[in-house]
Symmetry: C2
Subunit: 352 residues, 2 copies
DNA sequence: CTGAAAGCGCTTACAG
DNA sequence: CTGAAAGCGCTTACAG
């Protein structure tokens, strides 16, 4: 068994190849009995159609490409697995491509997308150049590919909104909730760790921090620019390593006056908390720490991390829904889905 | 641009389709100048061959399937990304398939493999039924698929060794190193968390624990069967949740006498350490804890986790090498690669 | 070294 | 409802 072809299947069933094809594809205009007989025989012999020949005729590939850039967080992996399942149910295979952070990215992505002739593409996580990107140009280049694209967990990348759909946690609101939480506990001197460069204002870290600041402003507090911790590893902003190294260097470089530390995500928070610990700063007694994402690592960290928990399943499902709908109807207008996260209190936060 | 076909390319270059094909595929018997001209034109017009048509003729798919079962650890994701890159360099696309833990697995895998007509398959991480599996039968079924298969980070699954290649950290030796480390520090009463059922003796947790036991035995200590912590979540053995819930339940169920806790992996160790912490057991003062894998989460955990660091890059590279070699020569004998991990001391371990 | 032609395994008008 | 035939875009013997 294994390599039967439709011709042979048809011969065994005593029908023409075209009839067998009709049965296999559940087409109209075929006798129910004939269809069932062919289907049964196909199953019996373990016939599986040649995907290449099929897509050559149909000229519609049944695979979706998921592109991850840089170091993926467990959150992205969870999303990926749900996407894979959802696409699978809809009859699409999922192909993963990984783009290194530093690779010239439009060219890389173009190659991936064109080589594969994919039915659709999901950009999972951050997509863009760490240094600076003419995002409008990038957006137009991607639009030229004429493939349905959905950005997943990537917030507003100015200009992109209009040309592509996106699904993301509401970073700004999440930040706001964290900021309100800290403000309520009396925190006024708040440091930020995990920031990228000033050019990347649309990135998730910037939206999250903006939300925190808005809540603080509403509580009558203002942020001290000296409390923006520079990122030690700009190439991997959202890692434990960056959180750790950034705080370590920052504390070593001068006396710091702050009662709370807002990290761009849970991983950065964990690294930062470790650096605080090594420097003799007790969390939360001397300094409160917050994350963002709601990863297991934060739940089991000692002290348990206060954070915004992302509704991963909802985000993934929405992404699949939007992409599949766009594949079915390419003229469908783009859609920006923003999903509210949930404030999860933790042991890492205490009154100022 | 975008959808040029070889026919058009040939017309523009003033050659026959067959000549264009020869140029594109770097075949013998073509004038160097003609070839260069065709290649240049192809590049200029952004010609990209139709993969379906190509593989229909060649009947050799250029994609490799990576199958992950259950909840993937960050370690597996790192391996996956390196595999993707290595396969990409060799001209293969990588398709990811995720198999839920509980799904009837040979049938599932068979469907994945046959539908895709893959050039090769990597099983990443655990592969098998949590409850019980006739591994010999499974092995024979997989062999029937007649596709090059490499098991990556899956240790000996009895019977498989002979039919398929595998690449894995040396779990037994790693366990031995951990056991020797603990024994040297005077630990004699050692508990184990993260074990699966008795039927799964070939699984990584069993090999690791066996290594620890061997080192202890060599030091004159014997393991108390009462110190085998039952897994609270048999369906997701290697998770923080399992570590946490298992220790929590175990401590609640009776007085325990132990000075060290060996976890099946870092994630389990972190969850377990958190449960110890909540129960008032201080790590490492009252109890030493060890992990396995060398994940970032352990490096930043407080206290920093003693563990065996897996050489992830080596493991991934070896996997790619073996699979690509097997694809190139299907008659190639199977190969079992065992790579030594490195003992990484941590703050989670102290003298008994 | 180059071209015309066959064929990879399928699907789909087009006739019957 | 069924069958014979064309053709999807490529590669590869086979002639020249």
């Amino acid at each position: 068994m294994g390599d039967m072809m439709i011709k042979e299947l048809a011969r065994i069933c005593g029908v023409a190849v075209s009839t067998a094809s009709r049965a296999l594809n559940d087409r109209e205009g075929i006798n129910a009995e004939t269809r069932d007989r062919i289907l049964a025989t196909a199953k019996q012999y373990g016939y599986v159609p040649n995907a290449s020949a099929r897509s050559l005729k149909i000229s519609a590939n049944r695979t979706i490409s998921v592109i991850i850039q840089g170091e993926p967080s467990p959150l992205l992996i969870d999303v990926l697995l749900i996407l894979e399942e959802a696409f699978g149910k809809a009859g699409f295979a999922t192909t993963l491509s990984h783009v290194p952070v530093r690779s010239a990215h439009f060219a890389t992505v173009e190659r991936i997308v064109r080589d594969g002739k994919f039915a659709g593409v999901v950009f999972l996580g951050r997509y863009g150049d760490a240094q600076s990107t003419d995002s409008h140009l990038l957006s137009m280049q991607l639009a030229e590919l004429e493939v349905p694209i959905v950005f997943c967990t990537t917030s507003d990348y100015s200009g992109l909104r209009s040309t592509h759909s996106s699904v993301c946690v509401d970073d700004y609101s999440g930040g706001f909730d964290l900021g309100a939480h800290l403000a309520e506990l009396g925190h006024r001197k708040i440091a930020f760790v995990g920031a990228g460069s000033a050019q990347e204002q649309g990135q998730v870290w910037a939206l999250r921090f903006a939300g925190v600041r808005a809540a603080l402003a509403q509580a009558g507090a203002q942020v001290d620019q000296d409390l923006m911790v520079p990122s030690a590893l700009p190439g991997e902003l959202f890692t434990m390593d960056n959180g750790y190294r950034s705080i370590q260097a920052w504390l070593a470089a001068g006396d710091r006056d702050f009662t709370a530390l807002v990290a761009s995500c849970d991983a950065v928070a964990v690294g930062a908390a470790r650096a605080l610990h090594e420097a003799g700063v007790r969390v939360p007694v001397d300094c409160s720490v917050t994350g963002f994402d709601g990863l297991n690592v934060g739940r089991y960290f000692i002290p348990r991390l206060a954070t915004i928990t992302q509704p991963i399943a909802e985000i993934a499902q929405a992404t699949a829904r939007v992409l599949l709908a766009t594949i079915a109807d390419p003229e469908r207008p783009t859609e920006q889905v923003l999903i509210r996260g949930r404030l999860t209190e933790g042991e890492s936060v205490a009154a100022a």
